[in-house]
């Protein structure tokens, strides 16, 4: 339905970021938390709007902005994710000497970039959305003042992110040269008709996929991930590990899903992605074994999880991918919330030794962190188990047995490094140097909400699955 309503979620978020930037100037330093509450208000409004427009298929600008259910579902979970990240960072920002207004405004702008990417099938628009997302992310990564690692993360992310954008534009130029369109559906149509420009188009498609592989951090393109995740402020790391990844997968699903069904021989692409998926699962988990920094462990674990989700894409089961991304959002944000809690003025505790005895000194945070780690490792009855189960079951149904075997072995390996953190928290004598000032109510609310999400998705996934099937059903193929 052609309607101006289609613009509403995007405008709400952009408006919120501008209002926050304006208020930043007038609010006193001790009242800066209000900026967080204002952004939470706008995010809630956006969420409610998305929920109300479910199934209405609003579109605008000749269809280059399209709110199908698939887009709306991701709008909603990313809105929830951003909301959780804003709540968890209320206290953290002042501990790290950063500015509230800048942080929230950039986070909301990044969210608007993701909205733009999710809700379009035109690659020109997707590219611009990617730029909005990336440019805000570069600034977010360098937000910690007087911290070399944070600046390093920012520069590294900027350089490699620019490479990824360049790859995307390069690939787009080839696709446009071959098919005279930048619309995904037009490109798929072009692939279905054999032309002499097929090689040119395949090359372009490869370039586009490489650029998204950078953003999602598949294995040959993952080098930036650990450094950026380690250096960025912890809530921003949580955002990076969830947001750009989800968006990258949305675009991959939009390109690849029709492609698998097309008449064009897709064996080469399939094989390459098969290898990438296997490598991502193996390397992500193996390298994580040797890390002692908790943020780096979670960085490698996020690489490995990208590999599991790619298995779902190869199995052509979008519902399981979407479910995985939803569960992953809750458990990863939850885990990073626990790390955010381990902070005092000007100091973050991120080494494994710092966590010795944390489970007894800070029972709530420790217990929640343990649950999230169990979920990431894939223990039943938590969400992480079901997510892996659906993805691997779909792959078995499609006959990708060897890939599933690799995946299961890799996730067995992953149990070691997840449990290592738990062992440090509960079985090592406390060294007594962990004095954190972070037990504030907002943070505990986030922990509670993530716990609820992980348990709900693990024990009663039915309601969400209905939503997800509805969302996936709205894809045009």
């Amino acid at each position: 339905m052609n309607s101006l309503y289609a613009l509403a979620p995007l405008s709400i978020i952009v408006l919120a970021s501008i209002i926050i930037l304006l208020l930043e100037v007038f609010l006193k330093k001790e009242n800066k938390n209000y900026l967080g509450y204002i952004s939470v208000f706008f995010l809630t409004a956006c969420f409610i709007f998305c929920f109300m427009s479910w199934g209405k298929d609003y579109s605008y600008f000749n269809g280059s902005l399209l709110l199908d259910n698939f887009a709306l579902f991701f709008f909603m979970i990313l809105t929830i994710g951003t909301l959780l990240i804003i709540l968890m960072s209320l206290n953290y920002i002042s501990l790290m000497d950063a500015n509230h207004g800048e942080f929230f405004a950039l986070l909301l702008l990044a969210l608007s970039g993701m909205f733009i990417m999710i809700s379009s099938t035109d690659f020109l628009v997707i590219f611009l959305g990617l730029e909005v997302l990336s440019i805000s992310s570069y600034a977010l990564a360098g937000l910690k003042k007087k911290d070399e690692q944070s600046s390093e993360a920012s520069v590294k992310y900027f350089l490699l992110g620019s490479f990824a954008s360049a790859f995307l534009v390069f690939g787009l130029a080839f696709l446009f040269g071959a098919f005279k369109t930048t619309d995904i559906l037009g490109i798929i149509d072009g692939f279905n008709k054999p032309t002499e420009l097929g090689l040119l188009a395949i090359f372009g498609l490869g370039m586009v996929i490489i650029s998204f592989a950078f953003k999602i951090a598949f294995v040959p393109f993952h080098m930036w991930t650990p450094d950026v995740y380690q250096g960025s402020p912890t809530p921003v790391t949580a955002f990076f590990s969830v947001g750009p990844k989800a968006v990258g997968f949305v675009v991959l699903i939009r390109i690849l899903y029709p492609y698998w069904h097309s008449l064009f021989d897709s064996n080469v692409l399939f094989t390459i992605l098969w290898i990438v998926s296997a490598l991502t699962m193996i390397f992500g988990n193996l390298i994580a074994l040797r890390q002692t920094n908790v943020k780096r462990i979670l960085a490698y674990s996020s690489i490995a999880h990208a590999g599991y989700i790619l298995v779902g894409i190869l199995a052509m089961d979008n519902a399981s991918c979407v479910f995985y991304l939803t569960v992953y959002l809750f458990m990863n944000i939850g885990a990073f919330t626990a790390i955010t809690a381990m902070t005092k003025k000007g100091k973050e505790y991120v080494e494994l030794e710092d966590y010795a005895g944390a489970g007894f000194n800070h029972p709530w945070i420790g217990a929640a962190f343990a649950v999230f780690l169990f979920s990431l490792a894939g223990f039943p009855p938590l969400g992480g188990f079901l997510a892996k189960f659906y993805v691997f079951a779909a792959a078995v149904k499609e006959g990708l047995i060897s890939l599933v075997v690799i995946g299961i072995l890799a996730s067995l390996v992953s149990v070691y490094y997840y449990l290592r953190i738990v062992v440090f928290m509960y079985m090592h004598r406390s060294a007594g140097k962990l004095d954190i000032q972070q037990e504030n109510p907002a943070l505990l609310i986030v922990l509670f909400l993530c716990l609820y999400g992980v348990l709900q998705l693990g024990i009663f996934p039915g309601n969400i699955l209905v939503f997800i099937r509805d969302a996936v059903g709205s894809l045009p193929f």
Partner: protein, 177 residues
Amino acid sequence: MALCQKYNLPYKMQEFLFFILAIICVGAVLAMILTKNPAYSALWLVLAFLGIAGIFGLLDAPFIAAIQIIIYAGAIMVLFIFVIMMIDVRKGLSPEKKKWTLFLSGFLGLVLLFELITAATGVFSQLKTVGTENIGSPAGLGRLLFTDFLYPFEITSVLIIAALVGAIVLAKKKENE
């Protein structure tokens, strides 16, 4: 030849202008390569860009000509000059490195020449007059920007806000220390 018809100029006039601009371009690029001082090279490059902008103007593409001056001769050259100012280019390369760069640049130059020849031989036969379709007119471009490409155009404004805020956030750091 479109320009001549449009403004009722003698045909020879356009040819004359073209040759002058072409000589300026080639001469400026040669001077850019041959000068030792990188800052002068950058200035010669600006002159070459201006010449190219003039050629676009002759082809009746005023918008592309303007863009050529604003983006290349303006923004990109400022970046070049910043880099030249920030790094110490006076020192130059060590002799053994120089030999390598000479060899490598010679090789890459040959590859480029070969590529250009193969590309050009295929294209020359299909060359047609350009500039008759109003490709680079500001009016046509503006119409497209505000109809078919309105959404990307509006997104660009969000992009610019993000870039501005991000740049200020990162640059402000130093004042606080």
